[in-house]
C-alpha cells in the first residue's frame, strides 16, 4: 500500500487573486509596471533625483540631454530630469487626496441618495447635477481667481467637481442592491440601516469605485498639469509637469526638451492608469474575467 496525498490548491487572498489576474493580462501588467514606476519614483524622489529640483545654475541653462543632465536643463539651469521626478510627487499629492476625498463624499452622498427617501434622493441628485454643470476648468479658473493659486485650491476644486461622478455610481449601485432579496431578508431580521449600508452595500460598491478611481487619476493629474500650465496650480519654484510644459511652450523654439520632459510622464500616467483601470474592471467584474474584458 502506498501513501497517497491529496494536494489541494492553495486558496489565494482577494488581493492575490486580483494581482494574479492582473499579471496574466498583458495590458494590466504593463499598466501595473508603469504605475509602480511612477508612484515609486515619486515616493523615492529625494533619493533617486540626481539634483535638487529647484537649484539654479544659470550658466548651464537650456542644455540638451547629456551625461550630467539626462533630460537637459531649463532656462535657469535646473535639472529637468530631477524636476520630472519631483513633479510626480506633486501629481500624486493632488491626485490621491482629490480622488480619496471625492470617493468619501461620493460614497456618503451616493449611499444616502440611493437608500434614503425619494425627496432626499432628488435633492442630492440636483446637487450633483449642479456641480457637474460647471465645466471643471472654468470652475477652477474662477476659484483660483478668487482665492489665488495654490496646490490646496487645485485639490479642492477637482475634488468638488469629481464628487458627483462617484456619487452617481454609488447611488445607482445602492438602489440596485437595496432591491436584493438578501437585503429584504436582513431587514426582516431587524438589521439596522447603518448595518445594511456598512456591511452589505459598501463592500459591493467599492470594487467599481476602485476601477473608476484608477481611470480618474490621469484626468486629475492632467487637470493639475493644465492649471499649473496656466500658472494657476502650484507656486514657483515647485516642480510640476504642467510647469515644465509651460516653460517648454515658452521656449519651444529654443529647445524641445522641456516640453518632451513634461509631456512624457503625462502620457505614461494616462496609459498606465488606464491600462490598470481596464484590467481591474475585468478582474472586479466576474462576467468579464478571462474574456479580455471586451
Amino acid at each position: 500500500m502506498t501513501d497517497t496525498a491529496i494536494v489541494l490548491p492553495r486558496a489565494r487572498s482577494e488581493l492575490g487573486e486580483i494581482l494574479y489576474h492582473l499579471v496574466r493580462d498583458p495590458l494590466g501588467l504593463a499598466g501595473l509596471i508603469i504605475v509602480v514606476a511612477i508612484v515609486g519614483s515619486a515616493l523615492l524622489a529625494p533619493w533617486i533625483a540626481p539634483y535638487d529640483p529647484v537649484a539654479m545654475n544659470i550658466p548651464d541653462r537650456l542644455q540638451g540631454p547629456n551625461a550630467a543632465h539626462l533630460l537637459g536643463t531649463d532656462q535657469i539651469g535646473r535639472d529637468t530630469f530631477s524636476r520630472v521626478i519631483w513633479g510626480g510627487r506633486v501629481a500624486l499629492k493632488v491626485a490621491l487626496p482629490t480622488i480619496a476625498g471625492a470617493i468619501v463624499f461620493g460614497l456618503l452622498l451616493g449611499m444616502i441618495a440611493g437608500y434614503g427617501p425619494k425627496w432626499l434622493d432628488s435633492l442630492i441628485v440636483l446637487l450633483f447635477d449642479t456641480l457637474r454643470s460647471f465645466p471643471t476648468v472654468m470652475f477652477a479658473l474662477a476659484v483660483v481667481a478668487l482665492v489665488g493659486p495654490s496646490l490646496n485650491t487645485v485639490i479642492f476644486v477637482i475634488m468638488v467637481t469629481s464628487i458627483p461622478t462617484y456619487g452617481r455610481v454609488v447611488r445607482t449601485l445602492t438602489q440596485s442592491i437595496k432591491q436584493s432579496e438578501f437585503i429584504t431578508a436582513e431587514l426582516s431580521l431587524g438589521a439596522t440601516v447603518p448595518r445594511i449600508m456598512g456591511i452589505h452595500i459598501l463592500p459591493n460598491v467599492l470594487g467599481p469605485l476602485a476601477v473608476l478611481a484608477a481611470m480618474d487619476i490621469p484626468t486629475v493629474v492632467g487637470l493639475e498639469a493644465g492649471l499649473s500650465f496656466l500658472g494657476m496650480g502650484v507656486k514657483p519654484p515647485t516642480p510640476s509637469w504642467g510647469v515644465l510644459l509651460s516653460d517648454g511652450y515658452a521656449l519651444i523654439r529654443n529647445t524641445p526638451w522641456l516640453i518632451i520632459a513634461g509631456g512624457i510622464p503625462l502620457i505614461l500616467t494616462t496609459l498606465g492608469f488606464t491600462f490598470l483601470g481596464e484590467a481591474l474592471r475585468d478582474v472586479v467584474d466576474p462576467k468579464l474575467r478571462g474574456k479580455g474584458g471586451k
Binding site: I58, Q75, P149, G231, M232, K235, R253, N254
Partner: protein, 522 residues
C-alpha cells in the same frame, strides 16, 4: 467711409509765418531732422502685427501704443517722431512751429492737408478743438495729463495759432505734440458725431485711410488718394492682431507678416540661425521693470530689511535667466538716451551678498516671509524665481503670487501688497516716468506708496526747467531719492528686437516702435 474726397480752399500763409516755417524747416535739416523716408510710392501690401486689439480711434481716449500706431498713420500732428536711433521730431501738419517763450508756442499749418468725408481743409480751429477737448473736464479724456498745463489755443489766422500754457512744460516737445495727445482731428466731423468717437474714425487726414477693422483680427489701412504730401510707400497696410510673440514669429517665418517684434528669448536663436531674406534689429526699450516694496506695509517698515533685499537681488542673473542676455540691467526708471538717465544705481546691479547679510543682521529681523506679486508672464515667473533664490540666501522666504492681467493691474490699491515685480511703459520724456511716483499717486500707480516732499517738488520744477543739464540733474536726484527709500530695486529697460523682411525698409522710433506712415520698400 462715406466719401474720401477732400475739398478745401488754399489760403496762403502770412509772409511772416512762412518765413518762420521755412526757418524751422531749415533748422530741422541742419540738425539732421530729415524729411520722412516713405517718399516712394512702390505700392503693394505691408503685413504687420500688433500685440493687442485697438481700443479707440479717438485720440482723447487712445490707450497707448497700439492705438497710436494707427492714429499716427491716419491723423496728422503738428510734429511727428522722427524715425531713427536718436529721439527727435520733424514737422508734420505744421509748416512752422516755434517756442515763442516759455508758455507760448506759435504754429502755422501746411495748406495742403484736408480731412476725408468732405470735412474740408485742416485749420487752426481744428487744432484748437483737438487740443482743448482733451483738457475739457466734461470729456473726461484719459489722456488729459499729457497736455500738462495747457491753458488754451489761440487762433490767429485760418491756419495759424498759438498754444498757450499756464506755465512752462518741457515734455510738450517730447511726448505731447508728437504723440497721442498731439493728433489733430476735424472739429466739424467730431461735432457732427456728438463730440467723441469710438472705434470708427469719422474723418482722417493722414497718408493712410482707415479702411477696415475686424475685431481681434486685423486693421486695414489704405493709401489716401487725396494725400498731398509725400506719397506713402504701400497701397495697403494690414495690421494683424497676434497677441503671442511666438505665434507672431511663426507667422513671420511662414511669410504671413513682414514685420514684428520678437521675444527676447528668440534673439539668440535668430542670431545663430538667421531667417533667410530677413533682418533682425535690436532697439533699446524705454520700458522699466523693477521690484517694488510697499512702504506702508508693516512687514516692510524696517529700512534695513528693504536695503538687504536691494543688495541681495542679482540683476545680472535675471538678465541671463529671464531675458536671455538680450537686455541690460537698468539704473533707474529713465532709460539711456533720455535726460536724467543715471550712469549707475546706488545699490549696483550685481548682488552684494555680504552687504545684504550684514544689513539683514542689522535689521534684527528673523524668519522673514514675504510675498511677491507678479504678472503671469514667462519672463516674470523666471525672474521671480531667481529673486526668490537670491532672497533665500539671506534668510528670506519669498512666496511668488502669479496674477492674471486684470487682477495684477488692480494691485495698486491693495494696502497689504508686499513686494511686486512691476513694469511700466514709458514715453521719451523723464516727466512721464516720475509722474507715477509722486505722493498723489500713492495707492494708484505708486504701488510702493513712496512719499517724498523733495521728490514731488522736483517733479514739478523739472517740468518747466529749460536748462537741460539742470533738468537732467533733477531727475537723477529723484531716482536717488527713490532708491534711498529702499523701496525700489531697478531691474531693466528690456529691449525691443524686431525682425523684418529685406523687402521692407522699416521706420522705427528709437525704442523700436513702428511709425507705419514712414515705412518704405527696400
Amino acid at each position: 467711409m462715406t466719401s474720401q474726397n477732400i475739398t478745401w480752399s488754399r489760403v496762403g500763409l502770412p509772409r511772416r509765418a512762412f518765413l518762420k516755417g521755412a526757418t524751422a524747416l531749415g533748422l530741422a535739416s541742419v540738425a539732421g531732422l530729415s524729411l520722412p523716408r516713405g517718399a516712394r510710392a512702390e505700392g503693394g501690401t505691408l503685413k504687420t502685427r500688433t500685440y493687442a486689439d485697438i481700443r479707440s480711434m479717438d485720440p482723447a481716449f487712445s490707450q497707448g501704443v497700439v492705438d497710436e500706431e494707427i492714429h499716427a498713420a491716419i491723423y496728422n500732428k503738428l510734429i511727428q517722431y522722427k524715425p531713427g536711433r536718436e529721439w527727435g521730431w520733424q514737422l508734420d501738419a505744421a509748416a512752422m512751429v516755434e517756442q515763442a517763450d516759455d508758455t507760448h508756442i506759435n504754429f502755422a499749418l501746411r495748406d495742403d492737408i484736408g480731412f476725408t468725408g468732405g470735412f474740408g481743409a485742416m485749420t487752426a480751429e481744428d487744432v484748437k478743438f483737438s487740443f482743448e477737448r482733451i483738457i475739457d473736464d466734461a470729456l473726461e479724456s484719459t489722456n488729459k495729463p499729457d497736455w500738462g498745463p495747457l491753458d488754451h489755443v489761440e487762433v490767429t489766422g485760418e491756419r495759424t495759432g498759438t498754444i498757450v500754457l499756464k506755465n512752462a512744460f518741457q515734455p510738450l516737445w517730447n511726448i505731447t505734440l508728437p504723440y497721442i495727445a498731439g493728433n489733430i482731428v476735424s472739429k466739424a466731423a467730431f461735432e457732427q458725431a456728438g463730440g467723441k468717437i469710438d472705434t470708427q474714425p469719422v474723418a482722417t487726414s493722414g497718408p493712410y485711410l482707415h479702411a477696415g477693422w475686424e475685431p481681434k483680427q486685423k486693421t486695414t489701412l489704405k493709401r489716401n488718394p487725396d494725400w498731398k504730401g509725400e506719397a506713402p510707400a504701400y497701397d495697403e497696410i494690414q495690421i494683424f492682431h497676434i497677441d503671442d510673440e511666438k505665434a507672431a514669429e511663426i507667422a513671420f517665418e511662414a511669410g504671413e507678416i513682414d514685420f514684428t517684434r520678437v521675444s527676447l528669448d528668440s534673439v539668440e536663436r535668430l542670431k545663430s540661425a538667421p531667417i533667410e531674406g530677413a533682418t533682425l534689429d535690436e532697439y533699446p526699450s524705454l520700458y522699466y521693470a523693477w521690484v517694488g516694496m510697499n512702504l506702508d506695509n508693516p512687514k516692510l517698515a524696517n529700512i534695513k530689511l528693504r536695503q538687504a533685499i536691494q543688495y541681495a537681488i542679482d540683476v545680472p542673473s535675471i538678465m541671463a535667466g529671464a531675458y536671455f542676455g538680450a537686455a541690460e540691467p537698468s539704473t533707474g526708471i529713465i532709460a539711456p538716451g533720455l535726460a536724467g538717465h543715471r550712469e549707475a544705481s546706488m545699490t549696483g546691479a550685481a548682488a552684494d551678498l555680504e552687504k545684504a547679510q550684514a544689513l539683514m543682521a542689522e535689521s534684527g529681523e528673523t524668519n522673514v516671509s514675504l510675498t511677491m506679486d507678479i504678472l503671469n508672464k514667462s519672463a516674470n515667473v523666471t525672474a521671480a524665481q531667481i529673486i526668490q533664490a537670491n532672497l533665500a540666501a539671506i534668510g528670506i522666504t519669498l512666496e511668488i503670487k502669479l496674477n492674471e492681467g486684470a487682477t495684477f493691474w488692480e494691485l495698486g490699491s491693495n494696502e497689504g501688497l508686499e513686494l511686486v515685480l512691476n513694469r511700466f511703459s514709458m514715453t521719451p520724456d523723464p516727466y512721464y516716468a516720475t509722474s507715477w511716483f509722486i505722493a498723489e499717486q500713492a495707492g494708484i500707480w505708486n504701488w510702493e506708496r513712496f512719499r517724498n516732499e523733495e521728490f514731488d517738488q522736483l517733479h514739478i520744477a523739472a517740468q518747466s526747467e529749460a536748462d537741460q543739464a539742470k533738468r537732467a540733474e533733477m531727475y537723477v536726484r529723484m531716482q536717488n531719492l527713490m532708491e534711498e527709500s529702499g523701496a525700489y530695486k531697478f531691474i531693466t529697460h528690456e529691449s525691443t528686437p524686431v525682425i523684418y523682411r529685406n523687402t521692407v525698409a522699416p521706420a522705427l522710433r528709437p525704442d523700436g516702435l513702428p511709425l507705419y506712415r514712414y515705412f518704405g520698400a527696400a
